[in-house]
Symmetry: C2
Subunit: 165 residues, 2 copies
């Protein structure tokens, strides 16, 4: 366990990313077994491609890779797989980038908050109860009932902030 609570994605030069991918696939597998839904070969593969790194990836970038492996691949192929993964909380969509990232702690119906480094493109998901709480509470004060929170913070990750001074 690291001493400082820097999110793992921002440790990118130091971590074993294959481990990220395989544990994400394993977690997805277990979640699908538990829910009696099917992590098909296509869906598993799209999940792996989303987990190609900790940077968000576009649907058409996924498609480009997939086409080399499966000649029938088309936009709908990718979007259907992504829809499945999104519905089941296995990936998240980054609205401000029209792109997708893997979820490191998959479970149903969570929004998370995203820290997006504009220098290295790394995205870290945090799941900060204080943030979620303030948002729901302050919206509720105005009579607004929140279903879904989109929180995307763009800036510089620790390493890139250091480099920029």
């Amino acid at each position: 366990m690291a001493h400082r609570p820097i999110p793992e994605p921002f440790q990118r030069d130091r971590h074993d990313h294959q481990e990220c991918v395989s544990s994400a696939v394993e977690a997805a597998h277990e979640l699908c077994v538990r829910r009696r839904i099917r992590l098909t070969e296509l869906r598993r593969r799209v999940l792996e491609l989303v987990w190609g790194g900790h940077a968000p990836i576009g649907a058409y970038d996924i498609l480009d890779t997939l086409r080399g492996e499966r000649r029938s691949a088309a936009p709908a192929t990718v979007y259907r797989a992504l829809d499945f993964l999104l519905e089941n909380g296995l990936v998240h969509r980054i609205e401000s980038l029209n792109a997708f990232v893997g979820c490191g702690a998959p479970r149903q119906a969570h929004s998370g908050q995203f820290l997006i480094c504009r220098a290295c493109d790394t995205v870290a998901e945090i799941d900060d109860g204080e943030i979620a709480g303030v948002l729901s509470r302050n919206a509720a004060k105005l009579g607004f009932r929140v279903d879904r929170q989109t929180v995307e913070l763009t800036g510089l990750c620790p390493a890139c902030a250091d480099a920029a001074g």
Copy 2:
């Protein structure tokens, strides 16, 4: 001054929307004079169209209207005007909808937070220092330096929440 702090957009059945539009245009005019930038006829008109209501409007919906008035209108016409308005904080982009809303309190470089009613499509911008503070602070704890905050809360506005029970 209303007693309860319900954002004006959620008072939509009770407020004089022409007043919203004209005060937005006037505020834009003053801001442009102050900054010595040009609120051209085109830009003013696009601002008015964005202020057609308190629901977000897509660039191509703006274009459809504009075409009836200016035969040269094309996508670039609209996107260039929107870029100008965005840069100057006169409109905001709702990332989760690929659409735009007018800013009720224009000033440079602010992100705001948006409450988006999924039933009536009304969007209210709030500018909540507590929210902005908690986001910056909690990101900073992880060594992340925030440049820009995207906060979009989808749910039910007071009226629609009442109606839904």
